[in-house]
């Protein structure tokens, strides 16, 4: 007997329709899919197949080829862009108008100074950041490493190379106020680095420090330079110099570390900087070399070589996250026992991790630059990484930038190949499975900068569309 014979054949949805093999297979597949995805699982992995192309009104672009770093000075109305090695200029300074738009005219190009002894070795920017309250730009520079592995730059040649340059942005062109961070405490010849202010601009986390190791050979170090309330670095009291001019040194000495984050009024800070710079000139003329006030440690099992670290993401006065060779590393200063915690990530893609902390929530985000389209969200507690990270994967995407949290729009933004990607967050800072992208004329968006004052995200382009 034909089992179909008893079924009404004139119905639109007939027995034959259900039993037609292709439809049956499709229906079977659909049932399986519904069966598989219907429970509400914990969303530790979120996948976004397509970011919706959107023209976002808060994104402002500027032409700054080969941009690797960017920072906005809201107080000076300036966008500073650091360029990749080999570019015509090291840094470009864009003036912004009262609405945060690019002011008319060409950007000012800065060429960073270096001693003649390193003339055969091009210098490049490793990081830049603007002071949050004063019109100051801090640039960290280095020189190209030797071509041969395990060869170091002769310390005698780099002895007068200043890694830290501080520019006053209240003048055009910006004036170099101070060049410092030279000598044996700083490794020379690194190609990457982390460089960041803490939330109150009392510490400037700097890369590639070093100190003598157990065998007298320099070992890598991580840490920061103390920044005085006027925005210039603090200096420690050097050992007593019998012939030093009385008073010259004490004017340079910063007060106790706990008071460095004291907020100074802008006009007082200007006066203080002028006085301290003048005093510094006097002391140098007297043969006294100011000693940068800094703090450093050498967890050599986690940061065994330069460059180190690849990112700093300060989360509190007591804790900072860093990018190590295999993933994020927590550094909790109040903890003698669990001071450093390395969170290894799979797959092992050394030195590609970049980190950004959420400015308001106990969370940090991590990208795998030049590798894939994943962003990790790490829950933090007392500065430690806790629980399991959440991951969002952007299909067909390679990320080139560190992650940046936009609290105004509650998104994480990343730079990718030819576009800027925005992933929506919930109120806990967790990823949601939706986002946007904005195509820009830049094949590798490595840098962008957010302005709280203007509510704008500045994205450098290779050239005008």
């Amino acid at each position: 007997m034909n089992p179909c014979a008893a079924m009404p054949s004139t119905n639109v949805v007939s027995w034959r329709t259900f039993t037609e093999p292709k439809r049956l297979a499709a229906g079977y597949g659909l049932c399986l899919l519904v069966w598989a995805v219907s429970p509400a699982w914990a969303q530790r992995e979120v996948r976004i197949r397509t970011l919706v192309e959107t023209q976002l009104p808060f994104v402002t672009t500027c032409v700054a080829p080969a941009a690797r770093f960017a920072s906005v000075s809201d107080v000076a109305g300036v966008l500073a862009v650091g360029h990749r090695p080999g570019s015509a200029a090291h840094v470009s300074i864009f003036r912004l108008d009262d609405q945060g738009q690019m002011a008319a005219g060409e950007p000012v190009a800065l060429t960073l100074p270096k001693p003649a002894s390193l003339n055969d070795r091009p210098n490049h920017v490793l990081g830049l950041v603007c002071h949050p309250r004063f019109p100051l730009l801090y640039v960290w520079q280095d020189v190209a490493p030797p071509a041969q592995p395990d060869v170091t730059i002769d310390p005698a040649l780099s002895a007068e190379f200043d890694h830290l340059l501080i520019y006053g942005l209240d003048e055009t062109p910006p004036k170099l106020l101070l060049a410092t961070a030279r000598g044996a405490d700083f490794h020379c010849g690194a190609v990457s680095a982390g460089f960041a202010f803490d939330s109150v601009a009392g510490r400037l986390y700097v890369p590639n420090m070093q100190q003598p190791g157990p065998m007298k050979k320099p070992v890598p170090a991580i840490g920061w330079i103390r920044i005085a309330p006027d925005g210039l670095p603090a200096f420690d009291d050097p050992s007593p110099q019998p012939n030093a001019a009385a008073g010259a040194v004490t004017t340079l000495v910063a007060s106790a570390p706990g008071s460095l984050a004291v907020v100074m009024a802008p006009q007082d800070a200007v006066a203080s900087r002028a006085a301290r710079l003048a005093a510094m000139d006097v002391s140098k003329a007297s043969g006294i070399v100011p000693v940068l006030s800094k703090y450093l440690e050498s967890p050599t099992l986690m940061f065994g070589d330069w460059p180190c670290p690849f990112s700093y993401a300060p989360v509190s006065d007591d804790a900072v996250l860093m990018a190590g060779h295999a993933g994020p590393v927590s550094w909790v200063l109040s903890d003698r026992l669990g001071r450093f915690g390395a969170f290894y990530l799979s797959p092992y893609v050394p030195y590609r991790h970049r980190i950004g902390a959420h400015p308001r929530l106990p969370a940090a985000y991590l990208t795998f630059v030049t590798f894939d389209g994943r962003i990790l969200r790490m829950e933090l507690a007392d500065g430690y990484i806790t629980l399991a990270p959440q991951t969002v994967s952007l299909d067909n995407t390679v990320i080139y930038s560190p992650p940046l949290v936009l609290t105004k729009t509650n998104q994480v933004v990343v730079g990718a190949a030819g576009f800027v990607g925005f992933v929506e967050l919930d109120e806990q800072g967790r990823f949601q499975a939706k986002g946007q992208r904005m195509t820009v004329n830049n094949p590798t968006v490595e840098a962008f900068a957010w302005s709280e004052r203007f509510g704008k995200l500045y994205v450098p382009l290779e050239k005008t569309p």
């Binding site: 669990g338 915690g341 507690a381 399991a388």
Partner: protein, 218 residues
């Protein structure tokens, strides 16, 4: 020819319905660490850290693998919301991989239910630091009947590298029935001078921590 085609369709339909019917009577799911948000490797040597998996020099720890000694423990909570309501757990097995064991002759691993809620900031000292800071009754979640169950869910003597299957049916059934809240398990070694290396779900064994559950309608 037409008749045989109809019979073929009928056979396919019956096979399909049979598949679903079978799955409606008994189903097995495998949860992995990828489903778990709550995990931690706690250590008395770093009492505030959540991921003190492997001591790595002075005051330095990594999570590239987890070491269990008398001072360390591994905590994990599998969410069970994939098990539909109205089901009875017929079998639940927690599959734990291990990389090496000291002494080589064998080491006893122990699984116990955790009795208290734990969360962000979990460590040897704290159950959580948010929304409020709460300490374990005894550091390391060692309080019997307070932090962890008095009776072990399962124990096993392990050797070398391999995987150990713990029968955790009773715990999963208790949690699924909501007879007790699901706060997960703590994995420990209890004797001194013992050393077990476990793979990390984040580094060398993604999805390597598995909970296999079989259930059927009540």
């Amino acid at each position: 020819m037409k008749l045989s085609s109809s019979w073929a369709r009928f056979a396919i339909l019956i096979a399909s319905l049979s598949t679903f019917a079978a799955s409606a009577t008994a189903r097995t799911i495998v949860l992995t660490d990828q489903d778990c948000e709550q995990m931690a490797a706690i250590s008395a040597d770093a009492p505030r850290m959540s991921w003190a998996g492997y001591p790595y020099g002075a005051a330095q720890f990594t999570n590239h693998e987890f070491v269990l000694t008398g001072k360390q423990a591994f905590l994990i909570r599998f969410p069970l919301d994939r098990i539909p309501a109205g089901q009875r757990i017929t079998k639940a097995e927690w599959i734990v991989q291990h990389l090496s064991v000291y002494p080589a002759g064998g080491t006893r691993l122990q699984v116990r239910r955790l009795l208290k809620e734990w969360g962000p900031g979990v460590s040897h000292q704290y159950r959580m630091v948010r929304p409020e800071r709460v300490e374990w009754h005894t550091p390391g979640a060692r309080g019997l009947g307070q932090d962890r169950a008095t009776e072990a869910t399962a124990t096993a003597t392990i050797k070398g590298a391999g995987e150990q299957v713990f029968n955790v049916t009773e715990d999963v059934e208790l949690w699924h029935k909501r007879a007790v809240p699901n706060h997960g398990w703590i994995l420990t070694v209890e004797e001194p001078d013992i050393y077990v290396r476990l793979p990390s779900p984040f580094y060398n064994a993604p999805k390597g921590w598995k909970l296999r559950i079989t259930f059927e309608p009540e």
